[in-house]
């Protein structure tokens, strides 16, 4: 986060506790609260003083009875006409959607009853006059809006209430004394979720998880007790819990989190256990990389990061042993090392509630991430001893070039926001902002997919160019580290150069915005781009010169 985020909290109750908890968690953030009870006015009047600070994130937390007058009919024991409620929902959500156009993201806690209630009892969940049925109706409408807009995120307020004690999470005394409907713990949990969501939007989620093995994935020391005596599955309570830990890890892998191993063990023994233990849920091939030896774990984790070309600040390390956790925390402070329960029964839940892998979108590349790394390993292993050119040619790679479209928008925004090393400008945009930026006729935003004989790497590159007054400027040049060094870099530039020329430009320039992490990008532009460096530091290409893509690649362009 280059600049601390600015948040605006809008609520129809006293939400100062939420603002305070957010400030407490992230003191550098600017958190403003709209005046009490001014929800509709704030959403409808963007000239109101609270908008003057140009907030980037809006937290909109309302009570159903305040947001929708007809809801009071439900709690008042009457059945409101559904069309009236629908009209109120449409109107309110239209205002939310308009607000969403002004900020990077809107967080809307799902509507919950703001006091303990049984509603109508057994029929409450399905009758139109039921409190819970009506809440479902409201929340479904919000979820539909969220699916359409991409930057509205409904948050699970019910979970905050459950965690804060169920009915004890409501505070009738707080309500009547100060219009605070919940106990302070609810606001702390809400702040945790909002803060994690902002962090995910700002810097992206953690991408990979390194696990210890003994007493983390199974019970007992494998090297001591042997494959058949470790605690895993079966009818043993701890064994069942360890199997569930593995199931949770498999679920994270399916969501796109890369798994790796750092364990003090014998690799052959470990591989045998993964291959032959009957209750093993994970297999050896589920792990993108492993360091199984008696070396320092911090060193092993640093090695794994280098092998996988992933940042340490994208890593999470799980180990049952407090001393190992402490060592990694101290040696590699960027790695997130959560406390880990000594009781295996608590471990599956610890994984399920870990906020580090929160996602703001899911793409096909996320789901295939481990397979992509396996393909990369095969590619590297197949590198011939001869020339690099011969090897590149042997890959038979094709680069597909597309103008940005809605189908690729989620992945393109992810790539733009998560890529650090090969990123010219390190711009961070939401899907909506990206779509809007790319729309004008003088701009072109392309996505690049790469496949070769080992597999499809997916959407791995972005390039954009804008032309004004006959001058073209490369705005974005972004490549996943998965395809670096294979000529895709110059392919992207060749496409941008051709486009700039077609739009009437005589030259195209690119200005690197240096960051702590885009040194590889700087080196590419300096040494390999073929652009001339001008005195002001910009890289310039005279478009009278030919700038072809490398001939070992096939470039395929979709029709516009």
């Amino acid at each position: 986060m280059d600049r601390p985020p600015r948040l605006l909290v809008v609520s129809d109750f006293t939400a100062d506790n939420l603002a305070a908890a957010l400030r407490g968690r992230s003191p550098a953030w600017t958190v403003t609260t709209a005046p009490f009870g001014q929800t509709h006015q704030t959403l409808l009047d963007f000239s109101a003083p609270v908008w003057a600070g140009a907030p980037e994130y809006l937290v909109l937390w309302t009570r159903p009875e305040a947001a929708f007058p007809s809801f009071r009919g439900v709690t008042g024991g009457r059945t409101p006409p559904r069309p009236a409620l629908e009209a109120e929902v449409d109107e309110f959500l239209a205002a939310v959607a308009r607000a969403a156009e002004r900020v990077r993201a809107v967080f809307v806690p799902l509507w919950v009853s703001t006091g303990a209630t049984r509603g109508w009892g057994p029929i409450d969940a399905f009758h139109d006059h039921g409190v819970s049925a009506t809440l479902d109706f409201l929340n479904d409408a919000l979820r539909r809006l969220a699916r359409r807009t991409k930057n509205i995120f409904p948050l699970d307020a019910e979970r905050w209430l459950r965690a804060a004690g169920g009915d004890r999470a409501y505070s009738p005394r707080g309500w009547y004394l100060g219009k605070i409907p919940f106990v302070p713990d609810v606001f702390k949990r809400a702040a945790d979720d909002v803060a994690e969501a902002v962090r995910t939007l700002e810097v992206g989620p953690r991408k990979w998880l390194i696990v210890d093995l003994d007493d983390t994935l199974w019970g007992g020391a494998l090297g001591e007790v042997g494959r058949d005596k470790i605690l895993l599955g079966g009818h043993d309570p701890a064994g069942e819990a360890f199997a569930d830990v593995q199931r949770e890890l498999a679920a994270l892998k399916a969501r796109g989190v890369l798994l790796a191993i750092a364990s003090k063990n014998d690799e052959a023994v470990v591989r045998d256990a993964f291959d032959r233990h009957p209750d093993m849920v994970l297999r050896w091939t589920d792990f993108a990389a492993a360091r199984i030896n008696w070396d320092d774990k911090a060193k092993n984790i640093a090695d794994l990061a280098a092998e996988l070309r992933l940042g340490l600040n994208a890593a999470v390390f799980i180990d049952d042993h407090p001393a190992e956790r402490d060592r990694v925390r101290n040696a590699l402070p960027e790695v997130l090392v959560p406390d880990w329960p000594a009781d295996p029964a608590l471990a599956p839940q610890a994984l399920r509630t870990l906020a580090a892998f929160d996602a703001v979108a899911v793409s096909e590349e996320d789901r295939r991430r481990t397979a992509l790394y396996a393909e990369e390993k095969a590619r590297a292993a197949a590198a011939p001893g001869g020339s690099r050119d011969a090897w590149l040619k042997s890959l038979g790679a094709t680069v597909w070039v597309n103008r940005l479209n809605d189908a690729d928008l989620t992945r393109a925004a992810q790539l733009l926001n998560k890529t650090n090393q090969m990123n010219l400008a390190t711009r961070r945009l939401t899907e909506g902002e990206l779509r809007a930026w790319a729309a004008p006729a003088h701009r072109r935003f392309f996505t690049f997919r790469v496949a070769d004989k080992f597999g499809d790497a997916g959407l791995v590159g972005l390039g954009s160019v804008e032309v004004e007054h006959g001058k073209a400027r490369v705005t974005d040049f972004v490549l996943s580290c998965r395809v670096l060094g294979r000529g895709v870099e110059r392919t992207v530039l060749s496409v941008l150069a051709a486009e700039a020329k077609a739009l009437g430009a005589a030259t195209v320039t690119a200005t690197l915005v240096p960051t702590e992490r885009n040194r590889p990008c700087a080196e590419f532009w300096e040494r390999e781009s073929g652009f001339e460096k001008s005195p002001d530091g910009a890289y310039v290409l005279d478009l009278a010169r030919a700038y072809p893509a490398p001939d070992h690649l096939t470039v395929a362009r979709a029709s516009a």
Binding site: S171, G178, P184, F187
Partner: protein, 110 residues
């Protein structure tokens, strides 16, 4: 389970509870506004130690902890509680005495 009421909390029990309440409130406050804890430490006394929002939070926290610890629904604030300058929220010691009284009043008859 029996219907016998729990014994009245000792002054030390109550003081410990008040300390926990102050700590819980402090979690909601920026570092510069956190309250000190000692028998004479001010709470809501007009000196600015605690504002009205913090007072509401403090009452909610304390009533919740009393319910949790002593099993009674104590009411710590009523309409005229703050009208007397020697009101029970002025400092830690006064508040602790107020808590003991409120717990005793809320306890079912023996």
């Amino acid at each position: 389970m029996t219907d016998r009421p729990a014994p009245a909390p000792s002054p030390a029990d109550v003081l410990r509870l008040v300390e926990e309440c102050v700590a819980a409130l402090n979690e909601l406050l920026p570092a510069a506004e956190r309250l000190a804890f000692s028998p004479t430490a001010p709470l809501y006394d007009g000196s600015g130690a605690m504002d009205s929002l913090s007072l509401v939070n403090f009452i909610v926290i304390a009533e919740g902890k009393i319910k949790e610890r002593f099993g009674v629904d104590a009411v710590l604030y009523r309409e005229h509680t703050l009208e007397n300058p020697a009101h029970p929220f002025r400092n830690v010691q006064a508040f602790a005495e107020h808590v003991r009284g409120a717990v005793a009043a809320a306890a079912p008859p023996a």
